[in-house]
């Protein structure tokens, strides 16, 4: 007879140890330098702690040492997929504080830019999500083909593909000419074809369904309590879209729906993004049809001489990832006294553990992918 080792009690169950793994900061699917301290029981996640800060760049402190307009290019680097929306949120906060009125053509151009950003962000977000499911890059590259066209448009307009720095207080930097508008119309006309093809390939794929449905459910109550915003919140059934709530820009005049899910799992977060892209296409069609003539810049804002009366203001937009807000405090000087950002990626990340616990480690990866984070924004 061989005596049983001490870890196996006689006649009892085998005791197992929990395994602590650090997924990240160097990992193919953490979408940047993000780390998850995961405690595993076999393959099942028992605890998960997100560790952020590897990409911290002192964004807020830098902006407080800089002129008002000087930090506009820095907002590009927050969520580098959506520099246009970031610009808009900052411009909105400053305009509110300084009481600047934006000309109508500029408002239309802003909507075009923000919605095109949303299209390319959502397209690559679902591409990355399916990449995390293990689809070897094919859906991602299909999405990137479409994203390239939009980035080319951004480059034509602003001179840069991703770091656009296009918005100014009281308008936008340069006007769109007819050629650029034709380019935008062409992109918008072609986009539904891509969506149809993508959906045909992926939405009803059995493996995608098996992997995504009933995985990582975020209850509606928790989404509200955690102040989750954007597609993640709407997938859980929270009827909240700042484009509808605030009606900033010309969104009040446009006809569009906000899709809301019911279950709040990874599949809903995937499909809500597809539906939102379809709504964005509708918005773009209206805006590109109705865009009026006129100036695009209300006041010429100088880089250094620009001062804002004392006070505080909060400007927010419905970014592609959720509510992106800038809280600014002015003392009447040429630079902000306090400059604070409400980054949607960071706040959406706080419920990661609640969604992941009890699922497999492979699910934790796709749940992270379904939140759609950008580390530039999380760490600032």
């Amino acid at each position: 007879m061989i005596a049983a080792p001490s870890t196996i009690p006689a006649g009892g169950a085998i005791t197992t140890q929990l395994l602590e793994i650090s997924i990240g900061p160097q990992h193919p699917s953490t979408h940047g330098v993000f780390r998850m301290d995961v405690v595993l029981d076999g393959e099942v996640v028992r605890a998960l702690k997100p560790v952020v800060g590897y990409l911290h760049r002192n964004h807020e402190q830098l902006a407080e040492k800089m002129s008002w307009l000087g930090s506009m290019p820095y907002t590009d680097r927050l969520d580098y997929f959506n520099s246009m929306s970031n610009n808009w949120a900052y411009a909105l906060a400053v305009e509110k504080l300084a009481g600047i009125k934006v000309p109508e053509r500029a408002e239309y151009i802003r909507v075009i830019m923000a919605e095109l950003s949303r299209l390319q962000n959502h397209a690559s977000a679902i591409g990355f999500l399916l990449q995390d499911c293990g689809a070897w890059g094919t859906p991602l590259l299909y999405a990137f083909k479409e994203r390239e066209k939009i980035l080319d448009f951004f480059e034509t307009v602003s001179g840069s593909r991703m770091m656009c720095n296009y918005f100014r207080f009281g308008g936008v930097r340069v006007d769109l000419n007819d050629e650029m508008l034709a380019m935008a119309r062409k992109i918008v006309a072609e986009f539904p074809k891509f969506l149809d093809e993508f959906e045909k390939l992926m939405t009803t794929n059995e493996v995608v369904l098996a992997r995504c449905q009933r995985v990582g459910i975020l209850p509606k109550e928790l989404a509200i309590a955690g102040s989750i915003s954007g597609p993640v919140a709407r997938a859980s059934g929270v009827e909240y879209d700042i484009r509808k709530v605030d009606k900033y820009g010309v969104y009040g005049q446009l006809e569009f729906g906000v899709p809301v899910g019911a279950v709040g799992d990874v599949y809903d977060r995937y499909y809500i993004r597809v539906l939102e892209m379809r709504e964005s296409v509708k918005i773009l069609q209206q805006v590109l049809r109705d865009i009026p003539a006129g100036p695009v810049q209300a006041v010429e804002v100088k880089l250094r001489g620009f001062k804002i009366p004392a006070g505080d203001g909060y400007g927010r937009v419905e970014g592609a990832k959720g509510e992106l807000g800038f809280y600014l405090v002015s003392e009447g000087g040429p630079k902000p006294y306090r400059y604070h950002i409400r980054p949607p990626s960071f706040i959406n990340l706080t419920v990661l553990e609640d969604m992941c616990v009890g699922h497999k480690v492979a699910d934790a990866i796709i749940i992270l992918g379904s939140i759609d984070i950008v580390l530039g924004e999380v760490d600032r």
């Binding site: 395994l19 699917s29 094919t138 590259l141 995608v208 098996a210 009827e239 539906l275």
Partner: protein, 387 residues
């Protein structure tokens, strides 16, 4: 072996007998050590090209005309890479694992006939040998994962063993159907049984109801056993970084890749032998010309199977580990067992049309029952509101 000898003996009647004997030994060995690694190199290139086309891009096209020298460049690059062994690794096991993973891949080719008589060893238990040796890779994978002393590697190794062992069962059961029908375990005889009929094609086992089911089961099992997409959980790039080979670099890493591809190709070769008639096809037969045509047929079929693998890899997401296990035990294994009964029907029901009807009906009914019982992944109808 005997037949290669006879073939050479008849063709080159004037040379001394011992030269013919030596040649009869050397040709199969040259095949296994020369042709299959060459096909492996070619496959890496074809895979990258095909994946590129699937993904809207070109794939490698810079080295040589159309990038044909890319495998050479890859090999040279990987040879020059530093070989890093983790400080705490079990050095001997860490070294041994990549070697062990290549060997079973090559051993399987011993029993895969490429032309009439062209098989290195015509073992009486050929099919059993191929399947048994193919499973040996599980040991090497676990050695790699364990010796690396890395948690990702360990998880990958645990997944690899669970997966390879589970999928071995339905794969062998699917093979059993062929063994029953052919009445032999010798691969050469199995291929010979699939000859004849219309154009040497109509007797392939894949054109029987049980053979078609067995073929599908065998392909899926083979993909899982060689850890290819969508069953690449042991490496699971997006989850476990590299799985069992996370801590390998340089040529050891290349050996893992090679072992994986060779195993995949070996499974494809066994599939061709068991279900697609091996070297059988219009024009293949004894004699030099017939042998060459047969060889062409075999390698065309092998290439077709490899292309199928690449296509699947480019278009399917990965399963989760519990779904993977559930699929093997709840769907594939029952279907494989049902398939064995179907072969029994096929064998004993005398008028052929009756056998066709009964076996097809039996398999279709069971297929529907199993799909119904395991309908967890069927699309839930989701309603989305607009506000």
């Amino acid at each position: 072996m005997e037949t290669i000898y006879q073939l050479l003996h008849v063709t080159f009647a004037n040379v001394p007998a011992w030269t013919v004997q030596v040649a009869a030994f050397l040709i199969p060995i040259a095949f296994i050590f020369g042709v299959y690694p060459a096909i492996f190199a070619l496959t890496t290139l074809v895979e990258r090209k095909a994946l590129g086309r699937i993904q809207n891009r070109y794939g490698p096209n810079r080295v040589g005309i159309f990038g044909v020298l890319q495998p050479l460049a890859d090999g040279l690059k990987i040879l020059l890479k530093e070989d890093i062994v983790p400080r705490v690794a079990d050095k001997f096991t860490h070294f041994l694992a990549p070697v062990l993973i290549v060997v079973p891949g090559l051993l399987v080719y011993l029993v895969v006939p490429v032309a009439p008589g062209m098989v290195a060893v015509d073992l009486k238990i050929g099919v059993l040998f191929a399947l048994a040796v193919g499973t040996m890779s599980a040991i090497a994978l676990f050695m790699a994962g364990w010796a690396s002393r890395n948690k990702f590697s360990l998880l990958g190794a645990v997944r690899a063993v669970a997966q390879v062992v589970s999928y071995e069962v339905p794969t062998v059961m699917a093979g059993v159907a062929v063994i029953m029908a052919a009445g032999t375990l010798s691969t050469l005889t199995i291929v010979q049984r699939q000859g004849g009929g219309i154009l040497n094609i109509s007797n392939w086992y894949v054109f029987r109801p049980w053979g078609l089911v067995g073929f599908v089961l065998f392909v899926i099992g083979g993909l899982a056993e060689s850890a290819r997409c969508p069953f690449d959980l042991p490496e699971a790039e997006s989850e476990l970084i590299g799985g069992y080979h996370t801590e390998y670099s340089g040529f050891k890493f290349a050996l893992f890749q090679m072992g994986e591809y060779l195993a995949g190709m070996a499974m494809a070769g066994v599939t061709v032998t068991l279900f697609l008639g091996g070297y059988m096809g219009p024009g293949s037969g004894p004699g030099l010309v017939g042998s060459l045509i047969a060889m062409l047929w075999f390698f065309s079929k092998l290439a077709g199977m490899i292309m199928l693998n690449i296509w699947i890899r480019g278009t399917w997401p990965r399963l989760r580990v519990d779904q993977l296990m559930g699929f093997a035990w709840k769907v594939l294994l029952p279907l494989a067992l049902v398939n064995i009964v179907a072969v029994g029907f096929w064998h004993f029901l005398t008028p052929r049309p009756l056998a066709w009807v009964v076996t097809t009906g039996w398999l279709v009914i069971w297929f529907l029952v199993l799909t119904k019982c395991n309908a967890s992944a069927i699309l839930e109808k989701r309603e989305y509101r607009y506000v």
